[in-house]
Amino acid sequence: MELLYASCVGLLVTCGVFLILRSRTFTVVLGLTMLSYAVNLFLFSSGRLSLNKAAVLGYSSEYADPLPQALVLTAIVIGFAMTAFVVILAIRGQTDLGSDHVDGHTPNKKSTQNKKVKV
C-alpha cells in the first residue's frame, strides 16, 4: 500500500508540474491545485499511513500522528486562498492585458515588449 500511495503522490507531482509548465494561466492554476494535492498528501504521509486510528482520544488504543494532520489542515485552507488569489489575478491579467498567456502577451509580440522593458 505504501508503494501505491507513493506512486499516487508521484503521479500527482508529475501532472501538476507538467501543467504548471504550460503557457496559459488557467492551466497553471490547475497545475498548482494538483501540486497542492500532492504536497498535502506528502506532508500528511510524514505521519505514516495508519488505518482506523483517528487521533480522537478514547476511540482507539493507538493514534495516528495528529501533528501533520493539523499542519495539512491549515495548508488546505491556505492553498485554497492561494488558488483563489492566483485565479483572480489571471482574470485581472486577461482583462487588463488582453491575453491569458503567463507572460501577459503571446510570444510573437515578445520582441517589441522586451525592448520597452529594457529602457
Partner: protein, 930 residues
C-alpha cells in the same frame, strides 16, 4: 535606562516633528527642539560620572546565540560626540527655522535631521559592532534623504546618490571588516574587541580587517581618493551641510578611527595607511579649496582638508597626536558649523554664493561679517582662537615622528604648506566676500538677516573665542575623558595653552600665516596656472563607472531574466530536482525497515480513480471545463484518502474546500477562454514531460522512503496533553486552536489578506461577458432555475444547523472552526448560485471585510485575554458546566478562538466568491444595455 533614551528621544523627535505640518513655524521648531534638548540635559547629567573615568553601559539581550545585543555605552569619546551631535544639532534646527523659505516643508527637514541625529547617536554610543554598523548605514540613508531634500534639483539628486553610493559602499566594507573583527575576537561586543589588541594584531587577518575598516572610515570622512562625494553633497540646504559636514556625517569616519584606535592602531601598516591618506587629503583639499568660487565649495574642500589633518594626526605614532586629533575634532566642528551658517545667511540675503559677485558685504551686514571673520580666522589658525591651539599641537606633533625614515622632515614641511594654504583660502573667504570693492550683479539687495538667525553663529563663535583664550578652563575635562577612551586608559601629560614660548611650532605658524597671506595676494598667478591644467572631474569618472556597471548588470540580468515565466519555472524545477534528487543517490536503498501493509481492494480502486482523474486532467487540459471536472475527481479522491488513513478532519476540510474551489474555478472559467491553444513545440513538450516525470519519480521515491521508515514523532506530547491541558479529545483540533494557536492566527490572517487582495483586484474590473458559450450557443434565458432556488432555500437552515453542530463538537470530535466555516460558506454560495447576488443583497447587506476583521479580532483578543489572567499569550482555559435540559457541557476559551477562525473563514470565502460572482451580474447588466 538613561542611555537608551538618548537615541530613543531623538527618534521620537523625528516622528513628532514629521507630524507638525499643521503648526506654525515657531511651534514646529519648538516641538522639534524639545526632545533633543531633553536628551542633551540627560547627557549633561551623566557627564560628571564619565569625567571621573567611568564607562556607563546598558545592555538588552536580543539574539544571545548570535552575540547580538542592543547595547549602549558611554565613555569619554562617545560623550564628546554626543555633546557635538546634540549641541550643534539643536543649533541647526533653530537656524533652519529662519533659513527655510515658506515653500520648503519644515516637518520633512526636521524629521530627516532628527533621524540622522538618531543614527549618529547610535554610532557613537553602540557597544556592539553590528549595531554600530546598523546605525552607520542609517546615517548613509538619512543623509541621502537630507542631501536630496530639494529633490526637484538634478544636482541634489545626483549628489545624494553619489554620497549614498560612496558611503554605502564603504559601509559594506566596514561590515566585512567588523565581521572579521568579531570572528577574530569571538565577540561583537565593543568592550571585548577594544581590550583584545594583542589578539587582533597578531592574527593573520589583521591586514585585511584593517583595510576594510579603514575603507569604511575613509569613504565616510571623505578622504582622498573618496573625497569627491562631499563637494556634490553641497546641493543640500545649508543647515544640512552645516550639520553633516562639521560635527556629524564626515566625523563618523573620524570617530571610527578614534573608536578602534586602541584595538587597531600601533602597527606600521596603520601608521603608513592612515598618515599618508591624511596627508594627501590635507594638501589636496587645501589646494583645491583656494580655487573654488562657490562659498560652499570652498568650505567643502576646506572640510576635506581638515578631515585629512585629523586623519593624519591619528596616523602619527605619538599619544599626543591622538589628543591633538580629538581637540581638532571639537574645534573644527565649532568653526566650520558657524562658517556654513554664515554662508547660509549670505546666500539667503544676497541670493548667490559666488565669490566673484559677492564683494563688499561688510557695508551691508557688518554684524554677520564680524562673526564670519572670527570663524574664518579660527579656520586659518589665528592666535586667540581655538583653531590656533590645535594647529600648534598638530605642528608640534609633526616634528616628533619618524614615519618616512630619513625623509620624515618632509611631513612638517607639508604641514606648514597646508597651513599656508588654509590661511590663503580663509583670507579669500574674508577679503573677497566682505571687502574687495562692490558687489557685482546680485539678485537681491543684501541686508542683515533676522535677528535670531544669527544666534546659533554667535554661540559657536563665542565658543571658538572662549576655547581659544581660556583653553584649559573650558576643554580640559572633556578632552581628557575622550583621550582616555581613545588611548585605552592612558592619557599623556598635555597642556593646552595659548603661549608655550618661542619654539618651532610657533615659527611654523608664523610661516604659515605669512606664506598664506602672500599666496593670497599673489593668487592671480596661481589661478592662471590652475586654469592651464586640464580639468579632471571626479564626477564624470564616477558617472561613467556607474553607467558601465549598470549596463553590465542589465545585460547579465537580461541574459538570465528574459521575461518568460515558463523558463523561470523550468529553472526552479531543475534546481529542486538537483537538491531533492541528489541525496537519493547517497541512500543504499529506497525502502525502509517498516512492515509494509498489503493493498486491499478499496485502496486499489481509490488509487486507480485518482490516477485516472489526474491523467485525464492532463490529457484534456486544452478543454478547460473537462479538465476542471477531472481535477475535481482527484480532489474528491484525496479527501477519500484522508478518510481512509485516519484523518477525518482533513477529509472534511478537503471535501468542503474542494467544493468551494471548483465553484470558484467554474466562475473564473466563465471569464477566461474556454480552450487552451496549441502552442508548445514537440520538443518543449518532450522537455516538460521529462522534467515532470523525473520530478514525480524523485518525489515518489522520497515519499516511499519516508513512509517505510519507523516514525519518531513529537506528537506523543500532544496526545498526552490534549485532554488535560487543552480540554479536548480531538487532538488535531486542540493542536490548531491551542498548542499551535499562534500559527492558526497567522493563517487566518493570510486568508483574510488573500480575500482583501482579491477584493481589491476585482474593483473596477471592466469585464465583458461572452454572449455565447464556447460552442456558439447563447446562454440560457432563465438564469436561476426555480428548482434549484427552492431546494437551496430550504437547505440553508439545515446546512447552518449542521455547521453549528460541526463547530461545537470540533474540540472533541472531528470538526471545528475551519470546517464549520466552509460548510456555512458553501450554504451561502449555494444561495448565490441559485438566486444571484442581487437577490441576496436585497435581503442581506453584509460587509465581508468587516466580518473578516472581526473574526481575526476575536481570535486575537481571545489570545490576548489570557494576559489578564496572568497567563502567557493564548493559554486555554476550560471548565464544565451543568446546563438544565442540555446536560453537562464543557466550555473552553479555545471555543471562542475557534469562533474567530470560523468567522474569518466564512467572511473570506464568501468575499472571494461573492466579489467574483457580483461581476457576472454587473457585466451582464451592461451587456443588456448595449
Amino acid at each position: 535606562m538613561t542611555l537608551l533614551w538618548i537615541p530613543l528621544l531623538s527618534l521620537l523627535g523625528s516622528l513628532i516633528s514629521s507630524m507638525t505640518g499643521k503648526l506654525t513655524r515657531n511651534q514646529s521648531t519648538g516641538l522639534t527642539m524639545l526632545l533633543p534638548v531633553t536628551a542633551l540635559l540627560m547627557t549633561i547629567n551623566l557627564a560628571p560620572a564619565v569625567f571621573s573615568g567611568d564607562v556607563i553601559r546598558e545592555t538588552i539581550s536580543w539574539i544571545p546565540l548570535l552575540g547580538i545585543d542592543i547595547a549602549f555605552r558611554l565613555d569619554g569619546l562617545a560623550l564628546l560626540f554626543v555633546f557635538m551631535i546634540l549641541g550643534i544639532g539643536i543649533l541647526v534646527i533653530f537656524y533652519a527655522r529662519y533659513y527655510l523659505s515658506s515653500n520648503d516643508s519644515m516637518p520633512k527637514l526636521y524629521a530627516y535631521l532628527l533621524l540622522f541625529m538618531t543614527a549618529m547617536l547610535g554610532i557613537v554610543m553602540s557597544n556592539n559592532v553590528i549595531q554600530l554598523w546598523f546605525f552607520w548605514e542609517l546615517t548613509s540613508i538619512s543623509s541621502f534623504l537630507l542631501i536630496s531634500y530639494w529633490w526637484q534639483k538634478p544636482e541634489a539628486r545626483k549628489g545624494a546618490i553619489m554620497a549614498l553610493t560612496v558611503t554605502g559602499g564603504g559601509g559594506l566594507a566596514l561590515l566585512a571588516g567588523l565581521l572579521l573583527l568579531g570572528d577574530i575576537v569571538g565577540s561583537y561586543n565593543l568592550d571585548i574587541i577594544l581590550a583584545s589588541r594583542e589578539i587582533i594584531q597578531a592574527h593573520a587577518w589583521y591586514e585585511v580587517t584593517l583595510i576594510l575598516v579603514l575603507l569604511g572610515a575613509f569613504t565616510k570622512s571623505a578622504q582622498f581618493p573618496f573625497h569627491f562625494w562631499l563637494p556634490h553633497a553641497m546641493a543640500a540646504p545649508t543647515p544640512v551641510s552645516a550639520y553633516l559636514h562639521s560635527a556629524t556625517m564626515v566625523k563618523a569616519g573620524i570617530f571610527l578611527l578614534a573608536r578602534f584606535y586602541p584595538a587597531l592602531a600601533g602597527t606600521d601598516m596603520w601608521f603608513i595607511l592612515v598618515s599618508l591618506t591624511g596627508l594627501t587629503t590635507l594638501l589636496f583639499g587645501a589646494y583645491v579649496a583656494l580655487f573654488k568660487h562657490d562659498l560652499k565649495g570652498l568650505l567643502a574642500y576646506s572640510t576635506i582638508s581638515h578631515l585629512g589633518l585629523i586623519t593624519l594626526l591619528f596616523g602619527l605614532d605619538t599619544k599626543l597626536a591622538a589628543v591633538a586629533a580629538i581637540f581638532h575634532i571639537i574645534n573644527h566642528a565649532t568653526f566650520k558649523a558657524s562658517l556654513f551658517m554664515a554662508t547660509g545667511i549670505i546666500d539667503h540675503e544676497t541670493g548667490t554664493r559666488d565669490m566673484r559677485k559677492l564683494n563688499g558685504m561688510w557695508r551691508f551686514m557688518p554684524y554677520t561679517a564680524t562673526l564670519a571673520m572670527v570663524a574664518a580666522a579660527a579656520m586659518a589658525g589665528v592666535p586667540l582662537l581655538n583653531g590656533f591651539l590645535s594647529k600648534e599641537m598638530f605642528f608640534a606633533e609633526t616634528l616628533h615622528q619618524q614615519l618616512l625614515g630619513s625623509m620624515s622632515w618632509l611631513i612638517p614641511v607639508f604641514a606648514t604648506i597646508a597651513g599656508a594654504l588654509a590661511v590663503a583660502y580663509s583670507a579669500r573667504f574674508i577679503h573677497d566676500v566682505f571687502f574687495n570693492g562692490d558687489p557685482i550683479g546680485l539678485p537681491k539687495q543684501p541686508s542683515e538677516p533676522p535677528r535670531y538667525m544669527r544666534v546659533p553663529i554667535e554661540i559657536l563663535v563665542a565658543l571658538c573665542l572662549l576655547v581659544g583664550i581660556f583653553p584649559s578652563f573650558i576643554i580640559d575635562d572633556i578632552l581628557t575623558a575622550a583621550s582616555f577612551a581613545v588611548l585605552g586608559g592612558y592619557v599623556p601629560e598635555f597642556e593646552v595653552a595659548l603661549w608655550h614660548g618661542f619654539n618651532l611650532p610657533l615659527l611654523m605658524s608664523a610661516i604659515a600665516v605669512g606664506g598664506g597671506l602672500l599666496l593670497y595676494t599673489q593668487r592671480r598667478y596661481l589661478f592662471q596656472f590652475q586654469a592651464s591644467l586640464p580639468s579632471l572631474s571626479a564626477k564624470k569618472g564616477f558617472d561613467d563607472s556607474i553607467y558601465a556597471m549598470t549596463k553590465w548588470c542589465q545585460r547579465k540580468i537580461n541574459d538570465i531574466e528574459n521575461g518568460s515565466l515558463q523558463r523561470y519555472l523550468m529553472l526552479i524545477f531543475l534546481v529542486v530536482l538537483l537538491f531533492a534528487g541528489g541525496p537519493l543517490f547517497e541512500m543504499s536503498q529506497v525502502g525502509g525497515q517498516k512492515q509494509l501493509t498489503p493493498i486491499d481492494v478499496h485502496n486499489a480502486m481509490g488509487a486507480a480513480l485518482l490516477m485516472v482523474g489526474a491523467i485525464s486532467t492532463v490529457i484534456w487540459y486544452r478543454k478547460r471545463v473537462v479538465s476542471l471536472l477531472m481535477i475535481s475527481v482527484v480532489g474528491l479522491m484525496v479527501s477519500v484518502a484522508f478518510t481512509r488513513f485516519s484523518a477525518p478532519d482533513l477529509a472534511l476540510t478537503q471535501l468542503t474546500v474542494e467544493v468551494v474551489t471548483i465553484v470558484l474555478l467554474m466562475l473564473a472559467l466563465f471569464f477566461l477562454p474556454q480552450h487552451t491553444p496549441r502552442e508548445s513545440s514537440s520538443m518543449r513538450v518532450v522537455r516538460d514531460v521529462g522534467i515532470s516525470v523525473t520530478l514525480g519519480v524523485v518525489v515518489a521515491s522520497i515519499c516511499y522512503a519516508l513512509i517505510t521508515r519507523p516514525l519518531e514523532s513529537i506528537s506523543d506530547f500532544f496526545i498526552a496533553n490534549a485532554k488535560t491541558g487543552g480540554g479536548g479529545t480531538n487532538v488535531v483540533n486542540v493542536i490548531l486552536v491551542d498548542f499551535r494557536g499562534f500559527d492558526t492566527l497567522g493563517e487566518i490572517c493570510v486568508l483574510g489578506i488573500a480575500a482583501l487582495g482579491i477584493y481589491k483586484l476585482l474593483i473596477n474590473l471592466p469585464l465583458f461577458i461572452p454572449a455565447k458559450d464556447s460552442e456558439g450557443r447563447p446562454w440560457a434565458k432563465e438564469r436561476y432555475p426555480i428548482l434549484l432556488a427552492s431546494i437551496s432555500q430550504s437547505l440553508l437552515p439545515l446546512a447552518l444547523m449542521v455547521s453549528f453542530y460541526i463547530f461545537l463538537r470540533g474540540h472533541n470530535l472531528p470538526g471545528g472552526g475551519f470546517i464549520a466555516g466552509l460548510v456555512t460558506a458553501i450554504a451561502f454560495i449555494l444561495q448565490y448560485i441559485a438566486h444571484g447576488s442581487n437577490w441576496i443583497s436585497e435581503r442581506l447587506t453584509i460587509n465581508y471585510r468587516k466580518i473578516i476583521a472581526s473574526g481575526i479580532a476575536i481570535a486575537l483578543f481571545t489570545g490576548v485575554g489570557s494576559w489578564f489572567f496572568g497567563k502567557t499569550f493564548m493559554t486555554t482555559w476550560y471548565d464544565y458546566f451543568d446546563i438544565p435540559f442540555i446536560g453537562e457541557i464543557e466550555l473552553a476559551s479555545a471555543l471562542v478562538f475557534d469562533l474567530g477562525v470560523y468567522i474569518t473563514v466564512v467572511g473570506a470565502t464568501l468575499m472571494i466568491l461573492a466579489s467574483l460572482g457580483q461581476l457576472t451580474t454587473n457585466a451582464s447588466k451592461k451587456e443588456v444595455k448595449n
